[in-house]
């Protein structure tokens, strides 16, 4: 007698039913899935978007919202591009990480540049006679330990460069610059900085600052005209495009830019222009090795999008190891980075002193940085909460989840954020967003007292404190003049007396009644014209989307407080720009981010010579403000180094424009950055672009929290499996019933037919 095991009997019973083997297989399949999921449960998080797991290395995970278009330092003039370039290239100077007001320090130089002053005849002047200078010459002495990142462009075989004429065979096997087998470094020399200026001068490279620098650097314009023409001829003769036609800039010299030795060069500028030093912190003046320029002009590389515009060659703390602007950008530590150490000074006494924990350590502190393209705010924010991004901004959708505003306007984190150990950084940006009056307009423009009063009345009526509260969640401060906080000339204690007044020791916006009386004095009592109709003003804007409607309605309401009818003229950005350039607007909104921390960089937006109407649309003074006294003071202030006298001039200029009110001063925005507890040394420095080297992080703490925060939830899978199984059974039953009914019907029919 053969005894079957119990489970076999059970199987037989199940198997004896129709369709049961299939059902059994299905059950086994789902059980296998559940077992697999259970096993996986203990493994790494399923939703981890990164494949590499290397706890030995410190890897910072960040994101970018717009793919960088240009990584050629002579072309790039966009903050999203400088976020990368600032880590790769090194101009001669940089901003001190901590010090405020912003302070310059040498980066690749042994010391700050020496300045020599000359008169018209070329005679050297003493420092105390610098005000009379017709020329200023800056001398730069380079450090000895600065080297470029390893790069194939430098590789030599004997006297020849190995990769400067790549064969079709070599090109076939590469998709990025890292695919070439050899790469070597080279020491930074003065000629690299001079070469960068020469590249800037080549008109075909489209450097955005060439025309500005032409005004200052001696001989640059002549040099630019000459080489651009020669290059044009070369292009015509060779029938090649700019991308693949190398022009030997080493053969030509700029009169005011000289190489004295491998470690010493000088730049001579016209007159006095103290702000020139700030330009030397920007990537336009970063060194470019001529070998790289020549290397990247190979047609085969250009066809693969491997150019100096996509594959930078720098001396900075990082090099670009992967450039996929549509997906991921990866920076890795430059093995040749020179000695630079975390600062131990300059931190304000009231700041968190833990920021000095890494003082004296060699930079950079992080090994690798991975930037992922993240266009939408929802996934970005959720990844940050999951711990997959180390820091994040706060979009309007997630603002309430992240931040609470107290009754006095103070920003604090919500409990959910605090529970995760998230911290935040909140700083006023050196920027201004304003509403401009076209001073050339017969109604809102002009310099008479009546016209001033109309603009002052409107300035009072537009309540920017309310705007900041409603539309920016409190992230901004109302501006009192053109100069933002943190910039020389900004006076913390002062306010715009034409819009605000002091009541019981507090500064408050003047009342609408005061605005109305100003309006009446301006000739528009109750916002009416002489014929009794409402004063109608026109506001041009490129904000045409549905999101903008609430803002535009808000503006209408502000003007309606005075009885003025505001007509919105919405148009696309191109037409809007064109109208502003042509002074065909009455009111418009615009903004400006500081290029450098100097009041000149804001006051020049109101300098008469820069008025759009005086420059055929090329000037940046969009309000067309042109006031003789202001212009005179600007010309004087522009040439001066920071001093008490300069401060007084800036304040005098501010008072003039406050009275004339060519802008409703608008607001200075506040940045709000959230970051996880494992990210260290986070300090706001809006003007420096190379601050990544100071960051540090605790990757073990991050891995631990990521694991804890991202355990997969399995019950929904079990539920889905059960539901599927439960639905299969009745379906099969129903199908069989239908078939049996039909069979029954057909049998009956046959039986009837048989009779």
């Amino acid at each position: 007698m053969i005894h079957k095991p119990k489970h076999s009997v059970l199987m037989d019973k199940i198997g004896s039913r129709q369709h049961s083997p299939n059902l059994l297989l299905t059950i086994q399949f789902f059980i296998a899935i559940v077992v697999f999921l259970s096993v996986s449960y203990s493994q790494a998080s399923w939703n981890d978007p990164y494949s590499e797991v290397n706890s030995d290395k410190k890897v910072l995970y960040s994101n970018f919202g717009t793919p960088p278009k240009h990584l050629d330092p002579v072309v790039s003039y966009s903050s999203n591009e400088w976020a990368f370039l600032g880590q790769i290239y090194e101009p001669p100077l940089q901003y001190h990480y901590f010090k405020r007001p912003y302070s310059l320090q040498p980066l690749t130089l042994k010391s700050m540049p020496e300045q020599h002053y000359f008169d018209e005849q070329g005679n050297i002047l003493a420092s105390d006679q610098s005000a009379k200078a017709a020329f200023t010459e800056y001398h730069f002495y380079l450090r000895d330990d600065v080297r470029f990142q390893p790069h194939p462009a430098f590789v030599k075989q004997g006297e020849q460069f190995l990769y400067h004429q790549l064969s079709a065979e070599q090109l076939q096997s590469i998709s990025s610059i890292n695919d070439l087998p050899q790469a070597v470094s080279r020491k930074l020399v003065a000629a690299d900085y001079v070469y960068a200026i020469k590249r800037m001068a080549l008109r075909q490279n489209h450097s955005p600052i060439l025309d500005s620098m032409n005004q200052y650097i001696v001989g640059l314009k002549e040099f630019s005209d000459d080489i651009s023409k020669r290059y044009e001829e070369q292009l015509k003769n060779s029938d090649k495009s700019v991308k693949v036609s190398y022009f030997d800039l080493n053969a030509y010299q700029i009169e005011g830019v000289k190489i004295h030795s491998d470690s010493h060069f000088s730049i001579k500028i016209k007159g006095l222009y103290p702000q020139f030093l700030y330009w030397l912190t920007m990537n336009f003046f970063a060194p470019i090795p001529w070998e790289a320029d020549k290397f990247y002009k190979q047609k085969g590389l250009v066809e693969k999008n491997i150019t100096l515009d996509t594959s930078p060659v720098g001396t900075g703390p990082y090099y670009l190891a992967e450039n996929n602007p549509n997906q991921v950008m990866r920076l890795k530590k430059n093995p040749n980075f020179h000695d630079e150490f975390y600062p131990d000074d300059g931190l304000p006494y009231d700041a968190n002193q833990l920021l000095l924990a890494d003082a004296g350590k060699k930079l950079p502190l992080i090994d690798e940085v991975v930037y992922t393209l993240e266009k939408e705010s929802v996934p970005l924010w959720n990844k940050f909460l999951q711990g997959y991004y180390d820091a994040s901004g706060v979009s309007s959708e997630s603002f309430d989840q992240a931040v609470s505003i107290s009754s006095v306007g103070d920003i604090a984190l919500t409990d959910q954020m605090r529970d995760k150990g998230i911290q935040f950084l909140n700083a006023v940006q050196p920027s201004i967003f304003y509403l401009g009056f076209n001073m050339a307009d017969p109604v809102v423009g002009g310099y008479s007292e009546q016209q001033q009063k109309l603009r002052q009345a409107i300035s009072i009526a537009i309540n920017y404190e309310e705007y900041i509260s409603i539309f920016l969640n409190g992230r901004g401060i109302a501006a009192q003049g053109p100069v933002p906080p943190g910039i020389f000339g900004f006076d913390e204690g002062s306010y715009n007396p034409y819009v605000y007044k002091e009541v019981d020791g507090r500064i408050q916006r003047r009342s609408i009644d005061e605005a109305k009386s100003l309006l009446a004095e301006a000739g528009y009592p109750g916002g009416k014209l002489e014929d009794g109709t409402s004063l109608k003003l026109y506001y041009d804007t490129s904000a045409t989307g549905p999101d903008s409607q609430s803002r535009l309605n808000w503006y209408r309401k502000q003007f309606a407080k005075l009885g003025i009818e505001l007509v919105i003229r919405a148009t696309d950005y191109n037409r809007f720009q064109s109208k502003v350039r042509g002074a065909k607007v009455q009111l418009f909104s615009w903004g400006w981010n500081a290029d450098y921390p100097d009041p000149e960089n804001f006051m020049f937006l109101l300098f008469g010579d820069n008025a759009a109407i005086n420059t055929n649309g090329a000037g940046i003074n969009s309000a067309n403000y042109d006031q003789a006294q202001f212009n005179e003071l600007f010309t004087k202030m522009k040439r001066m180094p920071n001093s008490e006298e300069r401060l007084q001039i800036v304040q005098q200029m501010t008072e003039i424009v406050q009275k004339d009110s060519p802008w409703v001063w608008g607001l200075h925005p506040k940045s709000l950055v959230l970051y996880h507890s494992w990210l260290q040394n986070v300090w706001p420095n809006s003007l420096a672009n190379n601050t990544l080297k100071y960051r540090n992080l605790d990757s073990e703490a991050r891995a631990d929290k990521q694991q804890r925060w991202n355990q997969p939830v399995l019950w929904p899978i079990v539920l889905v499996v059960v539901l599927i199984l439960l639905s299969i059974v009745p379906l099969m039953y129903a199908y069989r019933q239908r078939q049996m009914v039909k069979v029954g019907v057909s049998v009956n029919l046959k039986q009837r037919g048989g009779r």
Partner: protein, 325 residues
Amino acid sequence: MFAYIIRRLFYAIPILIGVNFITFALFFMVNTPEDMARAQLGAKQTTPEMIAAWKQERGYDKPLFFNTQANAENKVIDTLFVQESIKLFKFDFGQSDSGRQISADIYERMWPSLAIALPTFIIGLVTTIAIALLIVLFRGSPLDTATMILAVTIMSISGLFYIIAGQVLFSKIWHWVPISGYQPGLEGVKFLILPVFIGVFAGLGTGIRWYRSIFLEEMNKDYVRTARAKGLNDLSVLNGHVLRNGMLPILTGVVVVIPTLFMGSLIMESFFGIPGLGSYTIDAINAQDFSIVKAMVFIGSVLYIIGLVLTDISYTIFDPRVKLS
């Protein structure tokens, strides 16, 4: 059939010229070359000299459709439209206005687009047909009614909702898959699960209703009655007869879509961080990069024409009565 295909391809030339003409006219109606230069060079410090140099280098200093300065036939030939169109017809897309090689970009970006679009298309098609067949099998039952209500509900909700809800549910709350991102190769499968699932789910409503009506129409035809009379069960009738005959109208809508799959999906790619072609055109329009816009419109038109030709050819495969001549 070969002659037919050749003839259709020749017909495509005037269509492509027309599409190209409209693209040029519409784009330059909204953006002038000066606007384009400003968009590329940046708003700060831009001077007329820089704009002139930029336009000259890219050929935007030429008149758009008619060159009054040129002689004889060059009045038409030496224009931006003709010069750029000739390059397009040679599939020489050149550089984008920001200086990147468009062909290289398209080649690089089409694979991620396909990685989402192809599985979404295939799984979506199979799932939709299977569900449509199932409810046709149970037509008139509560299951049929419930599925139709569900289908209409799915259709009525915005695709954006499914994306955001899917990301919140499957990634944020249940932690099953990464919320966004992309990697090539097998590593990338985990990034594709959610967008493909959402793509399939969002398309279920329309697909089920459409295919159900096709199959129901077939179910009422004589050949089905004959098949049943021969004693075939419902499953055999559906699989062996209804599905095969229902494929013809399905092909009309499906084959034409296949070549355009690689053009990608704008919203899906944007939300899931997939570096595909979906956002390439929109990004180019926003950046006023005409070189990319005209290349992508041209490729889209070519693919659509190819899709129509393929549809015609597929008719002959599935319906022997159809002859192309």
